[in-house]
């Protein structure tokens, strides 16, 4: 199995999905899952199936929209795209996430200095 994969923090999957859709445009569930795996270089532990719970959550909040379409290789699939309010939400969440990660980064720096 090698290195253990990262467990996803609660709520991060939703943000990843939003970001993926914002960056790639309309995409089906499998596409989103693959994209997240690729972007994370297979470092996160993702059961692809869990993506669907996230998708329905986001859809109910009105942050993404869905419609049936045809994939590149002619398979009927449900395509998701980010909505306007979804983009706003993404901006807010990304900002929040950035600040949190900055804080975490500074804290770790601090501990390394103090450790010496």
């Amino acid at each position: 199995m090698g290195e253990t994969k990262l467990d996803l923090l609660q709520g991060t999957l939703d943000l990843m999905v939003l970001q993926t859709l914002a960056a790639m445009g309309a995409q089906h569930g499998y596409g989103i899952a693959r994209r997240i795996e690729q972007a994370s270089k297979d470092e996160v532990l993702l059961n692809q199936g869990t993506i669907y719970a996230s998708l329905v959550r986001l859809q109910q909040r009105g942050w993404i929209a869905a419609s049936w379409g045809t994939s590149d290789n002619n398979r009927k699939a449900k395509f998701y795209s980010i909505t306007r309010s979804g983009r706003k939400q993404l901006a807010r969440d990304a900002d929040h996430w950035q600040r949190l990660s900055d804080v975490m980064g500074r804290l770790f720096d601090l501990s390394e200095e103090g450790g010496r």
């Binding site: 569930g29 499998y30 059961n47 692809q48």
Partner: protein, 901 residues
């Protein structure tokens, strides 16, 4: 905004679950397909490509569950799943379901019915606007009956003037007898009952008419056109709910009286103020007409001003009392109300306390009893469910193995309990509705507000509450027990003889012991009430109610220009002699006589006559109740006389004679010290009026069977004016047989005689005893129900244990145990359970019975006979319940028992 949107979306998706599921299915299929194709492109074989795709997806069912949880209302989803499963499994086990629902229906139904009664009498306010402001103004109860609970018109006026706590004070004439209104529609007059009320009566109570108008002050003035307001029930019964009745005049008591209004259905005078007596109509009381000098005739009801408390009203009434005169023309009578009993004779109490306060204790006891019944039903059901759960151990073991959490299983079991108790509650509600409807029509039952009894919103709320509590009570224990079971054990456990089975059995035995104990408490309580009731029936009432009946006689003794009443007395004598002579001559009649009032009905007093020549000491309270009678009345009632009866010669021209009862004679003798303590031949009276005692009678219970007999004095109907005439007939035939002949004879003598009811004297006694009988009957039926439930419980446990031990019993019998040994061992087990329960129950009963001591009559709370009888009864029933499985056990065929299993 987002939250609301999401909540709506969740509910929406819950409702349209199937299409959403189908869509998800398609989406997942697409996902797997896309992944598989990609894997194939990477060079994997199609089979391996699909396998990898599935692995990466990570559990299709898990994803579906997550999806459903995210999008909808998972709990409700599960609940519906549980519900479907419950309905399926319950309909499979039909016998169990029917029994369980039946048990619950009985328990819950009884609870709803009793709650409705309690709610009607204790919890709900009286059916008047701001009813908590209404007070009943009367002295504490005394020896002289209604006459001491009422006030003169003068006193009423003074009280209205001098009290400050009231918006207004009203009252009604307390001495109207039943059948005092003869409605003449052509043919024989129809008797009805009407009460004179002070004109502001309805304003004070806040009653609005259903039709027409109610009284105005001028309706009660001298010379006002006679008007009447009729009850809703009479309007329907007698006038066919005539919508145009207002304004019509009818011949009543020989007078054209105009109906001015119809009372609403919600106001029933009888139900509020004279339980068990039908009041058909109300008429305005002319305070300044003849009743002016009748003495104490008015009961007082007041409406407190807003913000005035009862604590303020009590001293206010006491100070107003000093201004009240019995008769303004007699200065000596002023202030007498203030001194009565030393406690003050004018005391306001909340009207509700006056009406239903006496019943509070009985109702609380009844409520607890019926709660006990429900508890037994719950324990019983818990037991049944445990037995069922034991049989389902494997099922639940399997479900656990397949991934169901313990919580989920407990939830499933609780859902079953809820479904059962819900079904029980619905059936119980139907049962209670029938019971309540039946009760509402028990007009002879002297309980107040009975005609207003119905199942209202509060009762429905109570139903839901007890259904849920009951479900929790009986469902939780088996649920926890099941969930705590060891998975492997339960899958392996084949039931018989293994540890799990034994543990179950112990728990079930504890439950049965609890049931028996509860039933024991109920039975002992009911037994004590039953014994009290028997004691009440045994009371020597001072008259013989059997084989006697009474009928209201109409007569007209008015003589014009009769200065001192002697002419009308003479005329009355002729009429009464004729009536009694004709009636006595009828075949089957043993004795007949007339009195104006009957015992256990209305009463009045005329002050305290004292032995001649002795000055009464100060502060003597009470006065004898007055009965104006003809010769033969006491014999017809079966009241014994020492001395002689009134005779027809005791007329207006001869000396005034009276009979007094033994208690009153004894009381007077304390002051008079009569020779041989014999009152006969002595003279009592007030200054200027001598009353010669010609006889001493037995003590008659005039107010209730239970209370002490008070004082009575009997005057001659030819010397004093009677207030009506009740003809009492003692007969060797059943009274009903005689009714027709007696009425025909009366109508023959007086064509104006109304078609009055021929009432057995026993019915007067029954009426007086009816509240106690009612409570006793209910308590007894609840105890019976409890006993039945306990018996079912015992049967269930013993029967189950016999089934469980079939193999063991088979071995024993194969080793030589005889049928009787097997039977005895099963019965011994039964008896052991029962005895433990009885011992615990008897202990609790000793405490409980002390709490209900106030409801008992001539019965000690620890009455050994009752305790012994009830204990024997439970033991006998328990043995009976155990005998059936014991017999089955003894018939076990060892060969069959050993071969099976």
């Amino acid at each position: 905004m987002g939250a609301l949107r999401r909540a709506l979306a969740r509910i929406f998706s819950f409702i349209r679950k199937p299409p959403l599921d189908a869509e998800l299915e398609a989406e997942i299929a697409a996902h797997i397909d896309l992944a598989t194709q990609e894997n194939i492109q990477r060079g994997l074989s199609p089979l391996e490509a699909r396998r990898q795709a599935l692995v990466r997806f990570g559990g299709v069912d898990l994803a579906k569950d997550q999806h459903r949880e995210a999008r909808g209302i998972m709990r409700l989803d599960i609940f519906f799943q549980d519900l479907r499963y419950t309905v399926r499994s319950l309909s499979r086990d039909r016998a169990f379901t029917v029994i369980a629902v039946l048990l619950l229906a009985l328990g819950i139904g009884a609870n709803i019915a009793v709650f409705s009664v309690v709610n009607n009498l204790l919890l709900r306010p009286l059916p008047f606007p701001n009813a908590d402001r209404l007070v009943w103004i009367a002295p504490p109860p005394t020896k002289c009956g209604l006459s001491c609970a009422t006030y003169s018109t003068d006193a009423y006026d003074e009280f209205r003037t001098y009290s400050r706590s009231y918006q207004d004070v009203t009252g009604y004439f307390a001495f109207s007898g039943p059948g005092n209104l003869d409605l003449n529609l052509g043919g024989a007059p129809i008797p009805a009952t009407s009460i004179d009320v002070v004109a502001n009566f309805f304003q004070v109570l806040g009653v609005q008419p259903a039709m027409g108008r109610l009284f105005r002050p001028e309706d009660a003035n001298n010379g006002a056109a006679p008007v009447i307001v009729i009850s809703d029930a009479w309007w329907r019964r007698q006038f066919n709910a005539d919508p145009n009745i207002v304004g019509k005049a009818f011949d009543m008591n020989g007078q054209q009286i105009t109906v001015i209004g119809v009372l609403p259905q919600t106001f029933d005078f009888g139900a509020v103020f004279s339980p068990g007596v039908k009041i058909d109509a109300l008429t305005p009381l002319n305070l300044y007409g003849p009743p002016r000098d009748y003495g104490n005739i008015i009961t007082m009801i007041g409406r407190l001003k807003p913000g005035v408390t009862l604590g303020q009203a009590v001293p206010d009434a006491a100070s107003a009392a000093t201004h009240m005169c019995w008769n303004n023309k007699q200065p000596a009578s002023c202030g007498t109300y203030a001194q009565k009993n030393g406690e003050g004779g004018v005391v306001p109490v909340p009207l509700k306390d006056y009406i239903s306060g006496k019943l509070r204790r009985s109702l609380v006891v009844l409520w607890s009893a019926v709660g006990g019944v429900l508890l037994i039903a719950c324990v019983n059901l818990s037991n049944l469910l445990l037995a069922r759960a034991a049989a389902r151990t494997k099922e639940f073991g399997m479900r656990t193995a397949l991934g169901a959490s313990r919580f989920r299983i407990v939830r499933q079991l609780l859902t079953e309990s809820l479904v059962l108790s819900g079904a029980g509650a619905i059936c119980g509600l139907a049962l209670a509705a029938a019971l309540v409807a039946w009760l509402r029509h028990q007009q002879a039952l002297a309980l107040p507000l009975l005609s207003l009894l119905h199942i209202d919103g509060a009762a429905l709320g109570w139903t839901v509450l007890i259904a849920v509590v009951a479900a929790g009570l009986f469902g939780l224990l088996p649920g926890l027990r099941m969930a705590a079971g060891n998975l492997q054990d339960s899958l392996k456990d084949s039931g018989a003889g293994s540890g799990q089975g034994r543990k179950h059995e112990r728990l079930r035995s504890i439950l049965v012991v609890t049931e028996v104990a509860l039933a024991c408490v109920l039975l002992v309580g009911a037994g004590l009430l039953l014994r009290s009731f028997i004691q009440v029936l045994d009371v020597d009432l001072g008259f013989q109610p059997q084989h006697a009946a009474a009928v209201n006689v109409d007569y007209d003794d008015s003589v014009p220009n009769d200065k001192d009443g002697s002419l009308s007395a003479a005329r009355r004598s002729v009429i009464f002699q004729q009536v009694i002579g004709r009636i006595s001559a009828l075949p089957g009649v043993e004795a007949a006589g007339i009195s104006d009032y009957l015992p256990l009905g209305q009463n009045r007093a005329w002050g305290l006559p004292f032995p001649k020549g002795i000055n009464p000491p100060e502060h003597l309270h009470g006065s004898p109740l007055v009965y104006v009678i003809t010769p033969g009345y006491l014999r017809a009632m079966g009241t014994g006389i020492h001395g002689r009866d009134i005779s027809w010669d005791d007329g207006p021209r001869s000396q005034n004679v009276v009979l007094i009862n033994r208690s009153f004679a004894k009381f007077l003798d304390q002051y008079a010290h009569w020779p041989n303590h014999d009152a006969v031949g002595q003279i009592i009276g007030r200054p200027g009026q001598d009353l010669h005692i010609v006889g001493v009678t037995d003590d008659v219970h005039e107010e209730s069977s239970e209370g002490e007999a008070g004082w009575q004095i009997y005057y001659s109907a030819m010397q004093s004016g009677p207030n009506g005439a009740q003809l009492v007939v003692r007969t060797t035939l059943p009274p009903a047989v005689l009714a027709g002949t007696v009425l025909r004879t009366l109508r023959d003598i007086n064509p104006k005689q109304a078609m009055a009811e021929f009432r057995p004297i026993q019915s007067l006694v029954d009426h007086a005893n009816s509240p106690r009988q009612f409570f006793m009957l209910l308590a007894a039926s609840f105890a019976g129900l409890g006993l039945l439930l306990a018996a079912i419980g015992i049967y269930g446990v013993i029967s189950y244990s016999v089934t469980q031990r079939t193999q063991e019993i088979g071995i024993r019998m194969a080793l030589g145990a005889t049928m009787s040994i097997v039977r005895r061992s099963v019965l011994a087990k039964t008896l052991r359970l029962a005895l433990i329960g009885i011992a615990a129950g008897a202990g609790v009963s000793l405490l409980v019975s002390r709490a209900i001591a106030a409801l008992l009559f001539n019965t000690a709370p620890s009455d050994p006979i009752t305790f012994a009888a009830m204990v024997l009864l439970i033991a006998a029933v328990a043995l009976l319940a155990g005998y059936i499985p014991a017999r089955r056990a003894s018939r076990i065929n060892p060969m069959v028992a050993l071969r099976n299993n």
